[in-house]
């Protein structure tokens, strides 16, 4: 199965951005191990009522397409041209100026010309011209038109699952042509033929039936969080008893399930628990709406709606006043740009008002959902958090703007404000790699699978290279972000390209800096269980003098546990 991933230097040396001599319509993608994702499992597709579930393999010649696959694709295209003005206009007005060409992280990391956003779109546009427009039908290749063949479908599968819908190209396009929009529709059409990747299809099915992408059943979800509570007790010295599916809570908290499961997301999750305990927030978790992320967004907009439904439905059932959302990228694109349209209006909720500061979040008065980072920024602004940022002094931090929150939301200053208040050493990466020009981690939009590591590392090259730049210039050793996929994907990416840099969620840095009343000497270890003074010594800093352990000390905690 997975062959050896090439070494960083091998990738770097072999990289060329010169297009080949033959016309792009004459080249075919090579399904090479490490560069594509595995097809979806039959059960997962069937679980969602997906069409044409079957066993198939991209490396084989026969993809077992349904008999009338051509008609399905053509009708699918026509239907979407009629339903999405974005798609119709983007098919018609590209002038191929090439401004987008070198903006895509996959093009930069692979040199494959079909990863230039303009050509990625032309993969469909050529069919649009060749099958639907007169000039393309008559002149064919000369006019940039071609006929729909099985090879085209294979090419679509390869390249539309090699786009992370990050929208960076859209920032530079003089007409705002958004390849994410084209990829979203291309994937919808591939789904009509039962062509989906497993890393998307299986989480979608799990999320729909079980509540979250990881398929954590209610009791397991609770157990996972309880496991984190144990760590908190050990490392911070406070006991927390959060509630699950509690009716009458003021706030429903929803975060991507990755954060209750895997390192380093769990440290972010622990940080939420600590922060909410510190504030005495009246909130509840839900095991039913236990997923903030939405891999349906990478499937079809109907699937996105089916998964997203649970947030509002659960908030209604529990009778909460508003919803607080954790750190996540695509989750916030969906919450910001899609949720209210799909599953609103959320008239059962109230305009969010922070119970701690009294701030009313007017900017969320329709969706009634607030981002934990803006919630935190408001707390800091109102002096509600006792922060000692020197506790993060052993970190030299840089900030990774996530694609979705930057280009599909505009959430740039809130995290920076929080970051500046919790760390002393913060350095920005170069301007062309942050804010609206930020680079994707290379694994977004459901591509953070295990079998496509080379693809991910190549796609992540521009991001990693910018981190390397500040690592060498300023000694950056921590890459902070507000995205669960980033937390999962950037860690291996850093290990691959810039091994000295670690990855964390923004909230983890907040929790590190938070001075908690009654915090014990246990606080001398951070959430990761590392001795803070060891880390400080490594960074050449004076050790922190922690308060003396009182009589009961850690023992009391252990006794109280069971």
């Amino acid at each position: 199965m997975a062959t050896q991933t090439p070494k960083p230097q091998e990738i770097a040396k072999g990289l060329s951005h010169q297009p080949p001599s033959e016309n792009w319509m004459d080249t075919k993608p090579e399904f090479r191990s490490g560069m594509y994702c595995h097809p979806v499992k039959v059960a997962s597709l069937e679980g969602m009522g997906g069409a044409f579930a079957r066993e198939w393999n991209p490396t084989e010649a026969d993809w077992k397409l349904p008999a009338d696959w051509k008609g399905i694709v053509k009708d699918g295209l026509k239907d979407r041209l009629r339903r999405f003005r974005s798609f119709q206009v983007f098919m018609d007005i590209c002038v191929r100026c090439g401004a987008c060409a070198d903006k895509c992280h996959f093009f930069i990391g692979t040199g494959d010309p079909k990863n230039m956003p303009v050509l990625r779109a032309e993969l469909i546009r050529s069919i649009y011209r060749g099958e639907f427009r007169t000039a393309g039908k008559i002149l064919g290749k000369l006019a940039g038109g071609r006929k729909l063949t099985e090879e085209v479908i294979k090419e679509w599968f390869y390249y539309f699952f090699q786009c992370t819908e990050c929208r960076r190209c859209s920032v530079f396009c003089p007409y705002g042509i958004d390849t994410a929009e084209i990829t979203i529709i291309a994937r919808e059409i591939l789904n009509l033929l039962g062509l989906q990747i497993d890393w998307i299809g299986t989480p979608v099915n799990a999320c729909y039936h079980v509540g979250n992408h990881l398929g954590l059943k209610p009791h397991t979800f609770k157990e996972n969080i309880e496991y984190l509570l144990g760590d908190i007790e050990e490392n911070v010295g406070i006991t927390i008893e959060p509630s699950f599916n509690r009716k009458g809570a003021e706030i429903l908290f929803v975060t991507p399930s990755g954060d209750v499961f895997a390192d380093p997301g769990i440290f972010t999750c622990m940080s939420y628990l600590i922060l909410f305990e510190y504030l005495g927030l009246d909130y509840t978790w839900s095991t039913y709406a236990s997923e903030g992320g939405n891999f349906g967004f990478f499937t079809s907009n109907e699937t996105m709606k089916r998964l997203n439904y649970k947030m509002y439905a659960e908030s209604k059932r529990l009778g909460v006043k508003w919803i607080l959302g954790g750190e996540c990228g695509h989750m916030w694109r969906v919450v910001h740009q899609y949720m209210d349209t799909m599953n609103g209006p959320a008239d059962h909720l109230e305009v969010p008002r922070s119970p701690i500061t009294g701030t009313v979040f007017e900017n969320a008065k329709s969706t009634k959902m607030v981002h934990v980072t803006e919630f935190t920024a408001d707390l800091i602004k109102n002096g509600k958090l006792n922060l000692d940022k020197s506790r993060n002094d052993h970190y030299t931090v840089t900030w990774h703007d996530s694609c979705n929150t930057s280009r599909g939301f505009g959430f740039l200053e809130e995290p920076r404000y929080v970051l500046r208040n919790v760390v002393n050493n913060f350095y920005e990466m170069p301007d062309q790699t942050i804010r609206e020009q930020t680079f994707c981690c290379g694994s977004g939009s459901g591509l953070n699978a295990g079998e496509n590591l080379e693809q991910r590392f190549r796609g992540g090259l521009p991001r990693a290279n910018a981190v390397q730049f500040v690592h060498e210039k300023h000694g950056v050793n921590m890459l902070a972000n507000i995205c669960a996929i980033d937390r999962a994907a950037l860690k291996p990416l850093m290990d691959y390209w810039v091994p000295a840099v670690n990855v964390c969620g923004l909230s983890e840095l907040v929790a590190n800096a938070l001075v908690i009343p009654g915090e014990k000497a246990a606080r001398s270890t951070n959430l990761r269980g590392e001795e803070i003074n060891d880390l400080r010594e490594e960074a050449g800093l004076e050790p922190i003098e922690w308060p003396e352990e009182d009589e009961e000390g850690g023992e009391a905690g252990e006794e109280g546990e069971e």
Partner: protein, 344 residues
């Protein structure tokens, strides 16, 4: 290949009226019928395409946000790159349509071994693009002197500004370069230069050459030839503009009449190429003139958390309800101490 095809196509378009007028004397066809057909195709075609776009709704509010959103009141909003209100969207669209805001951001990626990925500023495309479009606009406005009587003051002002340097086009004469009359209109020369640069850019930059199709080469070549024939007529052949205007005015008054005095064949080539450009317009990428206004990633307010956006075809889908979920997991939930709606 697509380039050669385009070059041949444009050459044929030059030869057709040349032969048609000089050999077959089809002046009525090339002076009256073709221009009418072209303008009608242009006006109807462009309107049709835009109205067709308007039949597809914008189901979701999907602006590409290129700056700080409106959020907490003490955080400064970047209104023009992330519009929070209608006036802000109008501002963003103005910058986009009239100053090519997005193209102005352009960067150039440089890859060095190491690996080192670096980014440089790259404003050439923006500059050429802007020069090309604005000089084209000025050329169009100047041509209004052939289609209006009396010529409006603002057209004359544009012409006056365009001939600001009060010098002729330097042309080779018997004693070296000769600066003749009429006054040089900068727009025409800039148009030709910018179009040529955009053309060369397409030839020289490997990636751009790779993505180019006939639909890219052809309009550029066509415009270059239009500019060339126009410049030749104005400065070299000196077409009798009074006679030309007699024809053009008869066209706009819908009382077409070929003037008795002859008009140079160059005029017929020029007007045929222009007619072809107009007629070709609605079927081509040139429709970006209309499309730039309708791009949902640019022309929407980024306020979807504040105000609900309506999708006219919001699909009916099947949900997995909480009741179904509890039915699946009731026992485990009770065992784990998670509250349930129905006890077993």
């Amino acid at each position: 290949m697509s380039f050669i095809f385009s070059l041949v196509a444009v050459t044929v378009l030059v030869l057709v009226p040349l032969v048609g007028v000089t050999v077959a004397d089809l002046r009525w066809l090339f002076g009256v019928v073709v221009p009418y057909a072209a303008v009608a195709t242009f006006l109807i075609g462009v309107s049709y395409r835009v109205l067709k776009w308007s039949n597809s709704p914008v189901p979701f509010r999907i602006p590409t946000t290129c700056g700080q959103a409106k959020g907490l009141p003490w955080i400064k909003t970047n209104k023009l790159d992330n519009p929070c209100s209608l006036p802000a969207v109008i501002g963003r669209m103005f910058l986009e349509v009239f100053l090519f805001r997005s193209l102005f951001r352009n960067t150039r990626m440089e890859y060095h071994q190491g690996p080192k990925v670096r980014y440089g500023s790259s404003k050439w495309l923006w500059l050429f693009g802007l020069l090309f479009h604005y000089s084209f606009l000025v050329v169009l406005i100047r041509h209004l002197r052939f289609f209006t009587e009396p010529v409006p003051m603002w057209v004359q002002i544009v012409e006056h500004i365009d001939t600001f340097f009060e010098m002729g086009l330097p042309l080779p004469g018997p004693d070296g370069l000769y600066v003749g009359l009429p006054l040089l209109a900068q727009s025409g020369v800039i148009l030709l230069a910018a179009a040529t640069l955009l053309f060369l850019r397409r030839v020289v930059i490997a990636q751009v050459r790779y993505i180019s199709i006939a639909g890219d080469w052809f309009p550029l070549l066509l415009i270059i030839f239009i500019a060339k024939t126009g410049i030749i007529m104005r400065y070299v052949l000196k077409v009798d503009v009074v006679t030309v205007k007699k024809l053009t005015m008869s066209l706009v008054a819908l009382k077409p009449e070929l003037p008795a005095d002859p008009i140079s064949f160059m005029f017929y080539i020029h007007i045929f190429l222009v007619s072809f450009l107009f007629a070709y317009f609605p079927f081509s990428k040139l429709m970006h003139l209309g499309g730039v206004w309708l791009s949902p990633t640019r022309n929407l307010v980024n306020n979807s958390r504040e105000k609900r956006h309506i999708n006219p075809w919001n699909p009916e889908v099947k949900f997995h309800t909480y009741a179904e979920y509890e039915d699946d997991f009731r026992e485990q939930m009770i065992e784990a101490g998670i509250p349930v709606e129905k006890e077993a």
